[in-house]
Symmetry: C2
Subunit: 419 residues, 2 copies
């Protein structure tokens, strides 16, 4: 542990030093480094794919299967998409230096809030190598030093990717230590990272409940929780049922393993009889297991009975909980009791019902007549995301470039003193 | 401990329930409650002063003296100022519901970020009864439920003040539990409060290093550190020395016991010989103890020698550290090594030096040709402050109404699905 923590501390010290330089870099330098990094990824494609094959083989031998193995696996087109992601970030406006607000006081003081980088950003994440380049690009563009602590299962891939990016940074006049990979993928290494107070300005944990609990109990650095998505779709009495069906199927099926997938379907009792049997059949045909409350099972008797635990569970799988409720207020009550604050959706043509749902649901993102799957930095126009905040402090929902900044208050006077 | 924590948990549960109601309250209702609260304070003046006398007597018997005792003590005019503070908050614009930003995506989705309350805000603070009404007013106006955990030394006063405010809230249609005082002023009670995850959305610890360390090590709720102010005034080679003298004296003397007072004076070597002897004499005449580095002591030999520890110390007293430096870059290096991120000031007529200082100092607030004492929610036009953030996440500097809010992302479509 002390060896781990010393290694992580040195990484933190280097990041702290580099952060001062990065905050003063011009947009042209950062964008040139991003474009060079994109080319470097393409140039290193063979080495990246070879390292990735070794990671994938070892993971498969270790028992990894299904969606997890799929997310770990890179291909030529996937490496190209990682490079394109860096080019897309280069094309976004630089958030640093933006004057967020300016005002003058009666005593003549001129005040302005100016957007500045957070400083040093650390991300702990699972075995998804594309996150490595996404985070590297977002941190550089926003003027922050990045410390990446990926999963052991992706270490070979991440090492080759970060080496390519660091070399490209260096060639473009950006210190290579703007991007550092933590080689220690042990739990003790993660623990050391979350205790680097004074060196890390934001830690984003992307992972399951065990990591989140570890952070909440042990972190001394500031963090933003990238938490569960127990997302609901509520189909209101005034819904266009054709639209509702398309939204429910998309929200559940287009990528069941991600946090913005729908996990629960709430139905107004007024349309349940007409709507549920058909949508349940469509879901079942697509391989989805339905778990219903008593009233849902009266309408679709072969549905499994939902338990109390179901209402609080993020399945991340082809499973959905179904409940019939007595209108929008009952839907809101259910979501207040069981939602995770990620994304909630209502399907309705009734503007008053939509407005009530939007203002009463305690979620970062509320959708009206759209799929929950749109909660995503790219879909929102943020050019990617470093995570998706389910807490209320600092940022909510997808965290893009702007959410990786803070501000400084500049006050200019001509000799003012107080009192 | 378990009894304490159970009591605090019940307070948290009530706050959570009330927060839903508060977030939907109209500005008129909140403002009427604030005005009624102001009147209630004035009406309860005798009871407040009587409770305060008991607190002050007990504190004096317990050995409290000086600035601390002074801050605990209320008078008729001070109660009037607390009431006026509530009226000033009522007159400010309501931050809740503000559309921070809106945009449309190519697929037709309409997005908007709408400002909403944080939810439940808890403040741990020292024996300053005026903080009780300030925090109550700022939290109500921003639509948040407030949990106040004041000092044991002010418990009688705080109890009478919060009872008056809660009664006024109730009479104006605001749930009394919008404001709750934690009666348990033990350390275990504070510990229980900082572990109320899920019930508290923001904890603001206003207190000394021991409290801050306790929060960093033990809090599981989101917090913003209201930290030390080891504030520097740097007098540049190009300073107007008359202005510099006025700013130094004001920054050190106008209220030495607060976090925005100057604790260190850095002097460009080019003006040190001309400037230091006179300002040192002025400071000494006002009772300030000067602690200088070698070069400062060459110019003012009767100065005490500063130790390494001095450069990191927030005195909160009539003491100042003095160092002669080789220009703006050396001043920045010193501040990067020793500043606490609160407020730094430069006095100069050289715009380039000012801009360099502003962009390179790692502080929430940077002053050019103005006293550090202006870092204050009231002086900035925020209508008061709930604390002064020295961290980078969420908010920096004085935290007023807007800093007590977050946002919700509302997405409106007409049936959009992904891919």
């Amino acid at each position: 542990m002390s060896e781990n923590s010393t290694g992580v501390e040195r990484i933190g010290d280097r990041a702290r030093v580099v952060a001062n330089l990065l905050s003063a870099l011009g947009s042209e330098v950062k964008d040139a480094a991003l474009l060079a990094s994109a080319d470097a990824l393409t140039g290193a494609e063979d080495a990246i794919l070879s390292a990735n094959r070794a990671d994938v083989d070892a993971a498969r031998d270790g028992g990894m299967r299904g969606a997890l193995l799929e997310r770990l696996t890179l291909t030529g087109p996937r490496v190209s998409r990682m490079a394109d992601g860096l080019r897309a970030i280069a094309a976004l406006p630089d958030p640093v230096g933006e004057i967020i607000e300016s005002w003058k006081r009666p005593n003549g003081l001129d005040l302005r809030k100016v957007r500045v980088p957070l400083g040093v950003i650390a991300v702990i994440y699972e075995a998804r190598p594309n996150v490595t380049s996404d985070v590297a690009g977002l941190c550089l563009k926003s003027g922050n030093a990045a410390i990446l602590r990926g999963s052991a299962a992706a270490l070979r891939t991440n090492t080759v990717v970060t080496t390519a990016l660091r070399t490209a940074f260096g060639g473009a006049g950006v210190p290579a230590d703007a991007l550092q990979l933590v080689p220690d993928t042990s739990r003790a290494g993660a623990r050391a990272l979350m205790k680097l107070r004074g060196r890390i300005d934001l830690l984003v944990p992307r992972g399951g409940p065990a990591l989140i609990d570890d952070i909440i109990e042990n972190a001394t650095v500031p963090y933003v929780i990238d938490g569960d998505g127990n997302c609901h779709v509520y189909v209101d009495a005034a819904a266009d049922l054709g639209m509702a069906s398309r939204i429910v199927l998309n929200a559940k099926l287009s990528n069941p393993s991600v946090c913005n997938a729908a996990e629960k379907l709430l139905l107004d009792e007024a349309i349940a009889t007409e709507f549920l049997p058909a949508v349940a059949a469509d879901l079942a045909r697509a391989g989805v297991e339905l778990r219903g409350d008593v009233r849902a099972r009266q309408l679709v008797p072969d549905m499994i009975a939902a338990t109390d635990a179901d209402w609080d569970t993020e399945y991340l799988d082809l499973v959905i909980g179904v409940r019939v409720v007595a209108g929008v207020e009952a839907a809101i009550d259910h979501i207040r009791a069981h939602g995770s604050g990620h994304t909630e959706a209502i399907v309705t043509e009734d503007v008053a019902a939509a407005d009530r749902f939007v203002s009463a649901c305690p979620a970062a993102v509320v959708m009206v007549n759209a799929s929950t799957r749109f909660t995503d930095g790219g879909e929102f126009g943020f050019g990617g995301e470093i995570g998706n905040s389910t807490q209320r402090l600092h940022a909510r929902g997808p965290m893009g470039l702007r959410e990786l900044t803070t501000y400084r208050i500049e006050v200019r006077g001509d000799g003012q003193v107080r009192e």
